[in-house]
């Protein structure tokens, strides 16, 4: 059932209803071929904030996001909503469609060969809000157009997805996720393959969504971008010598993105500088 009760939230906004809902993944474990990829990982994403999921390649960022999104079953652990109306609700036990109305995932690279238009692609985000047999309602179209506008892609509505550039496609995927009207947004390396301007535009959008109450958990591998955008960060380290990947540090940017934490995980020497205008940390490596 579309939970759009009157006065609750206008159909056209991407902002969620009620108080923002945070996320808590507890002791999540997942292994493959007898190798532990995630070994009891705890991640919290506070409500209405941007939480960065950091770590070297292969640390298990994508795996964790897929587990949180309910796409992949963990071998152990739980994923709960924290705060808001559904405090303590078990996301993985939730009916799929209800979960899809609560949480959206933008994958690292999702493509298609089919000739779908951008508007149709974004309308897919309305799927969990309507019956399997129903077509797009006027409401759905309005929400989809609103989501496209929000993602800065309104001018692409009639283009075919296959003809878009990487940055344009990323915006379309974001718009599709927004059309789900999620309270929690999971992003897997949303700035990959984007030029600098597009990276900043994407992160500005992410920021503004969080300011509107959407809880964001984003896997990022550029530490400086993360430092400039995130409220909190969680640093994952890949498993070594039989041990699985685990969280080495979590908390506010200023506490986690320091040489003592970063250097052993990445095997580099880090210097933390200050951005002269924003005052945010800028990281240099050697």
């Amino acid at each position: 059932m579309p939970a759009t009760t009157a006065g609750d939230r206008p159909a056209t906004t991407a902002s969620p209803a009620g108080a923002p809902t945070g996320l808590a993944a507890e002791r999540v474990a997942w292994g493959v071929d007898g190798r532990l990829v995630l070994d009891g990982v705890d991640v919290t994403a506070p409500p209405g904030a941007v939480t960065g999921l950091l770590g070297p390649n292969g640390a298990g960022k994508s795996t964790l996001l897929r587990i949180v999104a309910g796409v992949q079953r963990p071998d152990g652990g739980r994923v709960l909503l924290a705060g808001g109306d559904d405090d303590g609700a078990d996301l993985l036990a939730m009916p799929r469609r209800r979960r899809a109305r609560t949480l959206a995932l933008v994958e690292q690279d999702a493509g298609t060969d089919l000739p779908v238009t951008v508007l149709d692609a974004v309308l897919l985000g309305r799927t969990p809000h309507r019956s399997w047999l129903a077509g797009d309602s006027a409401d759905d179209r309005e929400v989809a157009r609103g989501a496209l506008a929000r993602a800065g892609a309104a001018h692409l509505a009639d283009r075919e997805v296959t003809t878009l550039s990487g940055g344009e496609r990323q915006r379309v995927h974001l718009a599709r996720a927004l059309a789900q009207q999620p309270r929690v947004l999971l992003l897997d390396e949303p700035t990959n393959h984007l030029d600098v301007a597009a990276q900043l535009a994407t992160l500005r959008l992410v920021r503004s969504l969080a300011d509107d109450g959407v809880t964001v958990l984003a896997a990022l591998h550029d530490l400086t971008l993360a430092a400039g955008t995130c409220d909190h960060v969680v640093l994952l380290a890949p498993g070594r010598d039989g041990a699985g990947g685990r969280v080495v540090a979590a908390g506010p940017v200023e506490d986690v993105l320091v040489p003592a934490v970063i250097d052993p995980v990445y095997g580099v020497r880090t210097t933390v500088l200050r951005h002269p205008r924003t005052g945010r940390p800028v990281l240099a490596f050697d």
Partner: protein, 366 residues
């Protein structure tokens, strides 16, 4: 030829001028559905009338009305015995079977293309037709012709199970990826084709060659009212059920993960739909032999008209596929009159160049 204007800047200049085929119009579906339904109905009537023995479309109506017991009510006089038998016993079952097989194959094609996310997928891609052919060839050389539909059906289903098993096993728990499924289908198809050749080479004698060959190339020449009941019933039941899965299939547009995040029970939907496709293909192939290209070409053509959304694509492809096969079969029995071609040769003669053109277009866009 689509020179994609891929400016990365966020300027909001309206990109609509460069938009190829704006296809997000649900508005256009209704008229197309009406056109498709009328075309199919008219094609059936005209195709029954075409051929030796001068029949007018009106005669076809008269015969049908008489047999349905509506002749008196509509004030239509019955046809003479001979033309009536021609319409009711020979041509109408054949044309209706062609319509049902074409419609069903097109629906199967759309579903396969969506589930494998391969726009060039075909109900036959997953080794289904090769499996069916193996079953059919086996019973034909054994002389157990009555078992042919069952054997074709069993062969198709076994091939699908083998293909999906292979694809899943090679996917190591990551689900079934499009590319792997297609490769697995190729492997299974080649194996079944080799086995079919072996069966023919080893044990076929005399007329069996012709029989098997005609079956391998597909034909509705021997269609009876039983064929109509099986093919039509399968299309009405399974085809209609599959045609109702539009928004499920839409959800697969960006892959399994995207579908899962939209609330689709991916594994269950995939298995149920693939089994549905196998059952429907098996039932159709058992009546008509393996007729290629219908499931491949027609969905493509319909996509060009109404876009890739499945709620419109599925029923319209069914109508287009039925119409197409009715005319392909009409060509098959009239171009070299009095000799008949297997209809599979006609669909291949039309389909292969179209397929090549599609590949060419795909190359130009990529």
């Amino acid at each position: 030829m689509t020179s994609a204007p891929t400016g990365t800047s966020a300027d909001a200049s309206t990109g609509t001028a460069a938009a190829p085929r704006a296809t997000s119009g649900a508005r256009r579906t209704g008229p197309w559905a009406a056109v498709g339904a009328v075309a199919l109905l008219a094609s059936v009537v005209l195709a029954v009338a075409v051929g030796p023995a001068d029949l007018a479309p009106g005669d076809v109506w008269r015969s049908v009305a008489t047999h349905l017991g509506l002749g008196d009510a509509l004030g239509l006089a019955p046809l003479d015995r001979l033309p009536d038998a021609m319409v009711w016993q020979l041509r109408l079952p054949r044309v209706l079977t062609a319509a049902a097989v074409g419609a069903g194959l097109a629906v199967c094609g759309v579903v396969m293309q969506s589930l494998t996310r391969n726009p060039l997928a075909d109900p036959y891609l997953l080794g289904l037709s090769s499996g069916a052919s193996l079953g059919a060839a086996a019973v034909l050389v054994l002389g157990a012709t009555v078992l042919l539909p069952v054997a074709a059906f069993v062969g198709a289903t076994a091939a699908l199970v083998a293909t999906l098993g292979l694809a899943a096993a090679s996917g190591r728990g990551r689900g079934i990826a499009p590319a792997r499924t297609v490769l697995a289908g190729l492997a299974v198809g080649q194996l079944a084709a080799a086995a079919t050749s072996f069966v023919i080479f080893w044990s076929a004698k005399g007329d069996q060659y012709r029989e098997i060959l005609s079956w391998l190339m597909g034909s509705v020449a021997g269609a009876t009212w039983t064929s109509v009941a099986v093919a039509g019933g399968a299309v009405l039941v399974l085809g209609t059920a599959l045609a109702c899965t539009g928004s499920l299939l839409d959800a697969f547009t960006f892959g399994d993960t995207a579908a899962a995040t939209l609330g689709v029970p991916v594994a269950r939907v995939r298995w149920v739909l693939l089994v549905g496709v196998a059952l429907l293909t098996g039932a159709l192939v058992a009546q008509s032999g393996s007729i290629g290209f219908v499931g491949l070409i027609l969905p493509h053509a319909v996509r060009l008209l109404v876009g890739a959304r499945h709620r419109a694509l599925l029923p319209l492809s069914a109508l287009a596929g039925g119409t197409f096969l009715v005319w392909a079969d009409t060509l098959a029995r009239t171009v070299f009159e009095p000799r008949e071609l297997p209809v599979g040769i006609v669909t291949a003669a039309i389909g292969a160049p179209v397929f090549a053109a599609l590949l060419w277009r795909g190359r130009a866009r990529a």
